[in-house]
Structures are given as C-alpha cells and as structure tokens.
C-alpha cells in the first residue's frame, strides 16, 4: 500500500496524463483559424497513446493508493486497456461521422469530453471507496449526458440527453442514499473496512439489504440491466452513433468493473476458501447470487425479445447491448475466478464486435442517410464489403462459431456449468437462439432482398481499412485466443483478494 499522497501520484500517471490532455484538447479551441479542423482529435489521440504507455508500464502492479481510495491492480489494468482501445477507435470513428461534421466547430469540446469520460471510466474500474465510486460514476455520467446531446440542433439528441440526465441523476441519487446507509451501518466508506465491519455480523440485515439494493440501482443503471434499462433504447437511438458506440462499451464496462469490485471486495468473506461456493458468507441465509441470476435472466430475455420488434438499427443494437449485459451478469453469478475471467474475455469480444457493428451502421448512415433496417435491403450488392463486415459483427454478437463472440459465450457457459448453474446456462443458450432471429433479419435484408436502387456505393480507403482492422481480430481471435484468455485469467486478481 502506497502510504503518502506524494508516493501515490506515481501510480496515477495514466489518469494524470489524460487529465492534462483533457485540458490541452479543450485549449486547441484557442488556436487560430488556420489550425486543422482535426487538431483536437489528434491531441486527444496523443493523450490516449501517452496514457497507454504509462498504463503498459503498470503491468503487474498491485497497489492501493491514496490511502485506500484507488486500487491499481491487474483487474483495473485490464479494463484500462479496454477503455483506451475503445477511446482510440471512437476518435477514429468520430473523424468520419457526418453527424459530427455538422458541428465541427465544437470538436475541441467533443474530444475533450471523450477524454473526460475515459478518465471517469479509469477511476470507476479502480475505485475501492464508496465516495470514489460515486464521484467517478458521476464523472462518467456527466460527460455522457453532454455527449449524448452533443448535436444540440438535433431534437432527437436533445431528447436523448434529457432522458439520460433524468434517469441518471435519479439513479445515482438513489445510489448515494444507499451509500449513506452503508456508511451509517459500518462507519466506513472504504470497501475493505466495510467488508471487515460486515464480517463482525452485528449489523441489521434488512437495512444493509435495502442499502445494497439502492446501490444496485445505480450500478444497474450504468450497465443498463433490466429493470433499470429504460433510458438505454432512447439514448442509444437519439445520441450520435459514435457516442452510442462509446457509451455501449466504455460506460458499460466501467459499470461492470465497479459492480464486480463492489460485490467481490465488499461482501465476499475473505476467510472462506475461494474455490468454495459459499463465498457470500457475509449474508448468511440469504442468497445474493439468486438476485443477480434473476436480474441476469430478466435482462437478457427482455433485451432479446424487445429487440425482435425493432426497425431502427441503433435501437436494435441498444436492445442487443442490454441483452449482452444480461449474458455478462451470468458470469458474475458464479462468483468464481473462472466466471470473472469469462466476463473479462467477453468484454474483449464485446468491444470488437459491438464497436464494429456500430461503425458499419455509422458508415451506412453517412452514405445512405438511413438507420432503418428495411433500408439495408440489397446492401450485399451495393456495398459488398460493408455488408460482409456487418455480417461478421452480427454473427459475432450472436456467438456463432467462426467468430470471437463464440469463444466469449463458450467460456461464460462453461463457467456456469462448472458451478452447477445449468438452468441459467440453458436460459442463456435459448436467448442466444432468439437473438439469432433479429441479427439474421438484418443479414437477410442485406443479401436476400432485392435492392430498390442498384448503384454501387463504395467507401473510402480509410473506412475499409478500419473495418478490416475490426473484422480480422473478430475471426483471428477465434482461432488463436490463448493470449487473451491467459491475460483475462491473470487479470481477475483484485487488490487484497488472492
């Protein structure tokens, strides 16, 4: 444990770097008229790359810094890499977005907000203190409220940000009340100290139950788990596509990182044998995993069933991302290291396939000016490569073998089976089959329905290259996923839990 504040700064260099570049990106607005329009984007990219260098120097670090506020451990390291990769890809996407082109004078704000959200996500992944959790959640939330309404002349985006801010502020308010109850019950905001106070066992059960449920509201809203998902479809549909893609990966992954750390550190009995099932011994006689299991079943079922009826591509992907939150929660039910590593592996797959799908949707919206699934008819003839790429991403989202999504689902299900949650695995498989229907519907429109217009629409070299960069790992990692798997297995280590 790093003792002093001065020592602690050595461990937050990536965050410091991002903060510096957040300011620098904002300041590019002051550079004279002759600057390149894309200067803020390059500045933000530079910030992410430099932060990446510092992150890579933290391999294997396992420390608790700022007197227990923030953990720098392999678990948060894994998520930091995911956030950085997502950030870089989103900036590259944004440079080609037609929606954002219309507000290109506000690029400095846009790209600095992307950095701000990334900083918040970093802190969410590492925070081991309730106050820190709340603050970092708010940093992510506030940045995303602004981002989702960024094209403010567009009434849809305005509506998205209004709905987002009301739901978000409400849920985080409930979460704060939960935090205040936990503080009152245990006298601590530090997760480790809270765990020790709970382990003594003289705390009224009903109150702590209420407090944790209130916490779960805030966390559930961030990962868009049913029944806290109502904002998701509207926000994802209304926000600019790049922002939607960003929220669907970074914000969700950060929420999951925080959820896992909160429950693992806070409520797991450290004296119990880790391999044993009864790791939640702090709540004797009350089975927490069942609540999470029910939440997970609800989330994936509602997400998949409602997705079937969607005709807007962004809305369809929104429900699909709700369903994916359900799949990922399934891995959390097991509470074992195997389940955790399956979740981490799934996030790599989710990043690749979800960002890829959103990217192709954005390219199509740029050229065809539509987000409607029915307008995708004949895309296989008109833009063969984009249609092929989208097909790969959608099959990967379904979890069909020649793609990385299959490996992700495979490990989730095998983690469930090895902890005897067979019924949950079956529900998950049924859900995957249901999801095939709406993903394949898009593919059917692209290949099996005659286009109205037959002219070819080609994309520029840069777009094709970026699509290839996302398609290749989706397939290649299916064939050779050992490094990712061992990385995920190594990264389940949180500070204080070995």
């Amino acid at each position: 444990m790093a003792q002093t504040i001065y020592e602690s700064f050595g461990y937050v260099l990536p965050e410091t770097m991002l903060s510096i570049f957040f300011v620098l990106t904002l300041l590019t607005a002051l550079v004279g008229k002759k600057r390149s329009k894309y200067l803020p984007a390059y500045m933000a990219l530079l910030g992410l790359v430099l932060a990446g260098i510092f992150v890579f120097r933290q391999i294997g670090v396992d420390e608790l810094v700022f007197s227990g506020m923030y953990a720098v451990d392999p678990f948060s390291w894994f998520f930091k890499v995911i956030f950085l990769v997502t950030g870089v890809l989103i900036i590259l996407f944004s440079l080609q977005s037609r929606e954002l082109e219309a507000v290109s004078t506000k690029y400095p704000e846009y790209f600095s907000l992307i950095l701000a959200l990334t900083i918040g996500a970093f802190f969410m992944a590492g925070s081991s203190n309730l106050l820190m959790m709340y603050l970092s959640l708010e940093l992510v939330s506030i940045s995303s409220y602004i981002l989702s309404g960024f094209t403010k002349e567009n009434a849809r985006a305005d509506e998205a940000s209004l709905k987002y801010v009301i739901y978000g502020a409400f849920s985080s308010g409930l979460m704060l009340y939960g935090i205040s109850l936990i503080y009152g019950l245990t006298g601590e905001t530090n997760l480790y100290a809270m765990n020790q106070a709970l382990a003594v066992g003289s705390i009224p059960r009903i109150t702590i139950l209420l407090a944790v449920i209130l916490m779960l509201v805030g966390l559930g809203y961030k990962i868009s788990a049913v029944p806290f998902h109502f904002w998701t479809p509207d926000v994802y549909e209304g926000a600019p596509i790049t922002v939607t893609a960003f929220l669907s990966v970074t914000s969700k992954a950060a929420g999951f990182a925080m959820l896992m750390r909160f429950f693992k550190i806070g409520f797991v009995d450290v004296t119990a044998v880790p391999a044993m099932a009864g790791m939640w011994a702090i709540f004797k006689g009350f089975n927490w995993t069942d609540i999470i299991a029910v939440l997970s079943v609800l989330t994936m079922t509602v997400g998949n069933l409602v997705a079937i009826w969607q005709s807007n591509m962004k809305r369809l992907l929104a429900y699909s991302s709700i369903a994916h939150a359900g799949y990922i929660l399934m891995g959390f039910v097991t509470l074992t290291d195997q389940g955790m590593s399956a979740i981490l592996l799934y996030f790599v797959a989710y990043l690749l396939m979800n960002l890829g799908a959103f990217y192709v949707v954005m390219l199509i919206a740029n050229k065809y000016h539509t987000e409607n699934v029915e307008d995708y008819r004949g895309l296989g003839y008109r833009s063969p490569y984009a249609a092929f790429a989208l097909t790969v991403f959608l099959f990967s989202l379904t979890g069909i073998p020649p793609t990385f999504g299959f490996i992700g689902k495979f490990y989730l299900f095998s983690a469930l089976i090895s902890t005897n949650y067979i019924w949950l695995a079956i529900v998950g498989v049924i859900n995957s089959v249901v999801s095939l229907y709406y993903y394949a519907k898009v593919v059917r429109y692209m290949y099996l329905v005659e286009p109205v217009e037959k002219s070819r629409v080609e994309f520029d070299f840069g777009s094709n290259l970026l699509m290839t960069l996302l398609v290749v790992p989706n397939i290649a990692l299916m064939l050779y996923f050992t490094p990712i798997l061992s990385w995920a297995q190594y990264s389940v280590t949180m500070f204080g839990l070995h």
Binding site: Y145, L162, F170
Partner: protein, 105 residues
C-alpha cells in the same frame, strides 16, 4: 422550557421523509425543473444522513467530507440538467418531460 432531545433517529426520519418526497417528486412531476428539485431532495437527504451519522455515530469525519463532495456534485448536475432543459426549450418550446417523446417506444 425543556428542549427535546434531538438525536440520530430524528435526523434519519427527516432524511427518510425527504428521500421519499424526492422520489415522489421525480415520479409525479411533469415539469423538468420540478424533477430536478426532486433529485436535489434525494441528494440532500443523503447528505443529512452522512452528517447525522458523523455527528452522532462518534465515527470519523468521512461523512462530512462526503457531504461536501456531494454538494459540489449536486451543483454540477443541476447545471448540466438546466443546460439540457434550456436547450430542449429552445428546440421544442416545452419543459414538460411528457411532451418530449419523439423517440418511439
């Protein structure tokens, strides 16, 4: 006159009432500004909790520190929400959250 002994319980009851009123406000009010008021009530009820626990629980000062952070964050959140509402008003000429429903359900 004897001053009644005000202890932790009284503070917690007040905060619970404020919390419930806040939730009620968020759910029932149509005006976005009133929804914001409800959210502020929720945040402040949590603040009362934090400070009351610190004062009466004979614990560390953490609760008071948290309350200061929350006050600042509440201001930031209010600023963002008001900016968004202002923008909605310019675009759609309404601050009624029920009328902002162009995205389909």
């Amino acid at each position: 006159m004897m001053v009644p002994n005000v202890g932790l319980t009284q503070f917690l009851v007040v905060s619970a009432i404020m919390f419930s009123l806040g939730i009620y406000g968020v759910i029932t009010r149509k005006n976005a500004i009133m929804v914001l008021m409800g959210i502020e009530l929720i945040l402040n009820s949590a603040n009362i909790n934090f400070i009351a626990f610190t004062r009466f629980g004979l614990m560390n000062l953490t609760g008071q520190v948290v309350a200061i952070f929350v006050i600042i964050l509440a201001a930031a959140e209010a600023a963002i929400l008001l900016a968004i509402v202002l923008n909605i008003y310019q675009q759609l000429n309404t601050v009624n959250v029920d009328e902002v429903d162009k995205l389909k359900n």
